[in-house]
């Protein structure tokens, strides 16, 4: 099998504050794995420990079975974009990448290839200081691709990108995974993952909340509900409750709806027909990843607006 990221009982304490708390998970090749959690959940700290930038207080993180600091040169093993700002503004994109490539014995032509790949070939000789955030993100992605590594890690790669850039980046991640690489992608936004990730690792306050496929996660979060609009709301509610569903009134007066859980839409329609109740609307509401994510992480949000802590 390809290169696997293995995190085991990983813990990082800064004084009395625990940033990452006995975290264990596995990231497999051939898939895009989303790494999710609210701000301050410990995502970046975890990525830094996998890359051996920070030493764990206890526990281990390995890539392909080897702690990353054992490699004298890293670019052929893991490509990473941690923060697009981690460049020197006075250098050109080409010089920045050339220095990195040279340190790992990567031929110079690879620099032109990755600049072409991320769409920065035309600005290769301009100073990075004049780049927009989106361009810096592209440069960071070029840096990650430089060594053609089997493992790629990106921390919030979509920040600052225009819609065209977001689409490009999603296609790129899908392609990298299809090539058999391990793609590990952190974000605090569930919506970024919906169309990109196959697997999810969700953490809150440094602890693991869930590690499963996107499909399983969506299914277990919010239960499916059916929204019904009818002029005979009270009658219908009684019928549905008798049939074993739970019914919650929704919406405003005059445009009342019922949110029904526990019965599928066709059963609700049939019950209404049998009881001569007119229906104006009957909609199955799909469980949203965002709602499931919010529900799961509600207890572990680090910074809540409007709440004294």
């Amino acid at each position: 099998m390809g290169a696997v990221i293995e995190v085991s009982e990983l813990t990082k304490r800064y004084g009395s504050k625990t940033a990452v708390d006995h975290l264990s998970f596995t990231v497999r090749p051939g898939q895009v794995t989303g790494f999710l959690g609210p701000n301050g959940a410990g995502k970046s700290t975890t990525l830094r420990m996998i890359l051996a930038l920070d030493a764990p207080t206890s526990g281990t993180a390995t890539v392909d079975g080897v702690p990353f600091h054992r490699h004298p040169r890293g670019l052929r093993h893991v490509g990473a974009l941690l923060d697009a700002g981690q460049v020197h503004g006075g250098r050109s994109a080409a010089a920045h990448l050339s220095a990195l490539a040279r340190s790992n014995g990567i031929p110079r032509r690879r620099v032109d290839e990755v600049l072409q790949e991320v769409g920065l070939a035309e600005v290769a000789n301009r100073r990075i200081g004049g780049f927009s955030l989106g361009m810096k993100q592209r440069l960071g992605i070029a840096t990650a691709l430089l060594g053609d590594p089997p493992v790629l890690m990106f921390d919030e790669p979509i920040n600052g990108m225009d819609p065209e850039g977001v689409l490009w980046v999603r296609r790129l991640f899908r392609r990298l995974a299809a090539e058999g690489r391990t793609v590990f992608l952190s974000s605090h936004l569930m919506s970024e993952m919906e169309n990109t990730a196959d697997q999810l690792v969700i953490i809150g306050r440094g602890r693991l909340i869930a590690a499963e496929s996107v499909r399983d996660f969506a299914a277990r979060g919010t239960r499916r509900s059916v929204v019904v609009a009818t002029p005979q709301a009270a009658e219908l509610a009684a019928v549905l409750t008798a049939a074993g569903a739970s019914v919650e009134p929704e919406g405003s007066a005059g445009a009342e709806r019922l949110a029904v859980t526990g019965l599928p839409a066709d059963r609700i329609g049939a019950l209404a027909f049998e009881n001569r109740i007119r229906l104006d609307e009957l909609t199955t509401r799909a469980a949203s990843l965002e709602a499931a994510f919010m529900e799961l992480t509600a207890d572990s949000t680090e910074y809540l607006a409007g709440q004294p802590r």
Binding site: M1, R48, R73, L82, L100, P149, A177, G180
Partner: protein, 274 residues
């Protein structure tokens, strides 16, 4: 979704051995790709040689004084202080700029062998500033001698002690650049590093006099006092009340300062989170 069975395996391309000279080449690309590098060096060379010219021209005693003092005209304090200030600051900046921008993390992911990165930076910095120091030192001597020759008071480069003064003034630049670099790794913050290197290299020696044994000992252990002793080509007056540093001790000071700061930097960088 892709299933694991259909996935082609990605194996890293055959990895060439990790070579230190690739790190040297990488650091050299970083150095020369900054526009400020050639400008700073050109201005420094001009100022140091210019200060030698000014000092020699204003030396009214040039014709009457003993010939031994004349080579020293080439190395006025203004020139050496400038060299100390610029070399230590630029040496510090090679690492501090990486810490302040976060580039150090990009560098460390590319080269997890952190100690090797510091050593490569130190080697490139030492080579660059030895070259700059040699140009300023030789240039200062030649300009100064050209002016003295106009007064028929020139001293040949073979004159006793002249070569030592030349070498000490050339090596002052890499010594200070390496001390700055080492402090930069240890302190990481631009302002703290600048203040500390200016304090230890320029201010500290002025705190101590040569009239007491202990005070003279501290002074003689500092870089700028060592340079002064090595650049003087006359022997101390035996009747002098002050204590004078030895030549060999001063060379030792030259060697130990960069060695200790860079060694500490390599030790610390391995243990600390980036």
């Amino acid at each position: 979704m892709t299933t694991l069975t259909s996935v082609p395996r990605v194996t890293p391309a055959a990895e060439p051995p990790a070579r230190f000279r690739d790190l040297l080449a990488s650091e050299w690309i970083k150095t020369r790709s900054l526009r400020s590098t050639p400008w700073t060096i050109a201005l420094t060379v001009l100022f140091v040689i210019g200060s030698a010219a000014v000092a020699t021209m204003s030396d009214n005693a040039a014709r009457s004084g003993p010939a031994d003092f004349l080579p020293f005209d080439a190395y006025p304090p203004a020139g050496s202080w400038t060299l100390i200030l610029v070399a230590s600051s630029i040496g510090a900046l090679t690492v501090v700029s990486e810490y302040s921008s976060g580039l150090i993390r990009t560098t460390t992911v590319a080269v997890p062998a952190r100690g090797s990165v510091v050593l490569a930076k130190a080697a490139v910095t030492a080579a660059l500033w030895t070259a700059v120091g040699t140009v300023t030192s030789t240039g200062s001597f030649l300009v100064s001698q050209a002016i003295l020759n106009g007064h028929h008071a020139g001293v040949p480069i073979t004159h006793p002690g002249v070569f030592r003064a030349l070498a000490a003034s050339a090596l002052l630049a890499p010594v200070c650049a390496l001390v700055g670099l080492g402090l930069g790794v240890l302190l990481r913050h631009a302002a703290a590093t600048m203040v500390t290197s200016v304090f230890t290299l320029l201010m500290l020696p002025t705190m101590f006099s040569e009239s007491n044994r202990w005070s003279a000992d501290i002074k003689h252990a500092l870089v700028s006092a060592a340079w002064k002793r090595l650049a003087q080509n006359w022997e101390p007056d035996p009747g002098s009340l002050g204590y004078t540093a030895t030549v060999s001790g001063s060379w030792l000071v030259y060697a130990l300062w960069p060695l200790i700061t860079v060694a500490l930097a390599v030790l610390v960088v391995r243990r600390r989170d980036v």
